[in-house]
Symmetry: C2
Subunit: 203 residues, 2 copies
DNA sequence: GGTAGCCTACCTACTGGTCGGTAGGTTGCA
DNA sequence: TGCAACCTACCGACCAGTAGGTAGGCTACC
């Protein structure tokens, strides 16, 4: 699969991945034709197929790269934090900032084209997603045990957080009223502290 | 566009909508062919086209019906509640229960095929979505003013809530560990009260 | 240093199949 | 008779993928 060149061509494979991610993101996997991708890379369709095995395989490669990005930039960096509260805060903020500031098309493709992948490809991506969910659930359980969190349902909390974050790409556009940091702050604030005023005591 | 029959055939149109919604939901709009829909309805493709104008028009009709459902069963019922806290609670619970218990395929199609619609069709659906967002933002502002809510950003809170709810269809499967009511309770709890135990006092 | 052999990276031209949509005919009920 | 509700048969467009060729570079050996 991954062709290697000494160093005269470290680009092509990466360039194809990046370009295809952008196009799948813009037009959708089904509506984007391989000719669209080939044109954008500056190849013919047959030339493109010299580098990749199939459209499905290309999609899988994009998603795998997206998961690599997420795990490298978020999950792996926070997993080792001992205190569950700090771990959650870091994951929450890191995840939001990843999708809001870096906006990797590869991650958006993961979110929007879940059903486009089939069989083993799909299973492998889903397994990596599940790993993150388990991580969140475990963190919530530890927070509850340590008294840092209320007795919320860990699974529901995990999916609520994921929903909040994974929906961002549907509405957030850079250059809006709220800055990247402001959005990250606001969403963290809502998720951690909820909407309601404290039932009693000072604000 | 919408053909009308006196009342001998109130079924066909509705049957087509419902069936097409199911199929678009299962296979995705792009991958579902009009022959798939026609077969499922028990017609040929040409027979199906006797009732509808185009595939896009069919998708628009499905989404419009989905918005009708949502507005009738949720938005219109809670809009008149005077107290903003009770209004929000009712909207939150009603919305979650709609997507979790009734699971109208039409609503799922709205969420998953946003980009499939183009031009005026898209604008009309988006306008109805925007109306709901404005409603939520206004409710949050009233809650803050009345002291029922913390000083969260109303827009961010609205999108956080929408993300949480609109993501449900990605993970919730009936018959799981949590009942419909339990999921509605858990998500309401997380969103209203947040994750943290009584905080020491954030800004 | 020349050349044979081979390889990577592409290209042109095509296939088999699918899909949205339609023209024009048939059927059966009012 | 007239019209709604279908059908058969088809079109043109497009698409994933491929067969088979070529240009140019690297390597090995003389």
């Amino acid at each position: 699969m991954t062709k290697r060149s000494r160093q005269d061509r470290p680009t092509r494979q990466a360039q194809i991945l990046e370009t295809a991610a952008r196009i799948f993101c813009e037009k959708g996997f089904d509506k984007a034709s391989m000719e669209d991708v080939a044109d954008a890379v500056g190849l013919t369709k047959a030339g493109l197929y010299h580098h990749i095995g199939s459209k499905d395989e290309l999609l899988f490669a994009i998603m795998s790269y997206g998961m690599d990005l997420f795990e490298e930039k978020v999950l792996n960096r926070v997993m080792t934090i001992a205190d569950p509260l700090e771990r959650l805060k870091a994951a929450l903020r890191g995840h939001v900032l990843l999708v809001i500031r870096d906006r990797p098309k590869e991650v958006t493709v993961i979110l929007h084209e879940t059903n486009a992948l089939k069989g083993r490809f799909r299973d492998r991506i889903n397994a990596r997603k599940k790993r993150y969910i388990k991580f969140l659930e475990k963190t919530f359980r530890e927070m509850i045990k340590s008294g840092a969190a209320r007795r919320v349902d860990p699974s529901a909390a995990a999916f609520a957080m994921l929903g909040m974050i994974n929906w961002i790409y549907q509405w957030y556009r850079p250059g809006g009223r709220l800055s990247d940091e402001a959005v990250a702050d606001a969403l963290s604030d809502v998720f951690l502290g909820g909407i309601l005023a404290r039932p009693s005591g000072p604000a």
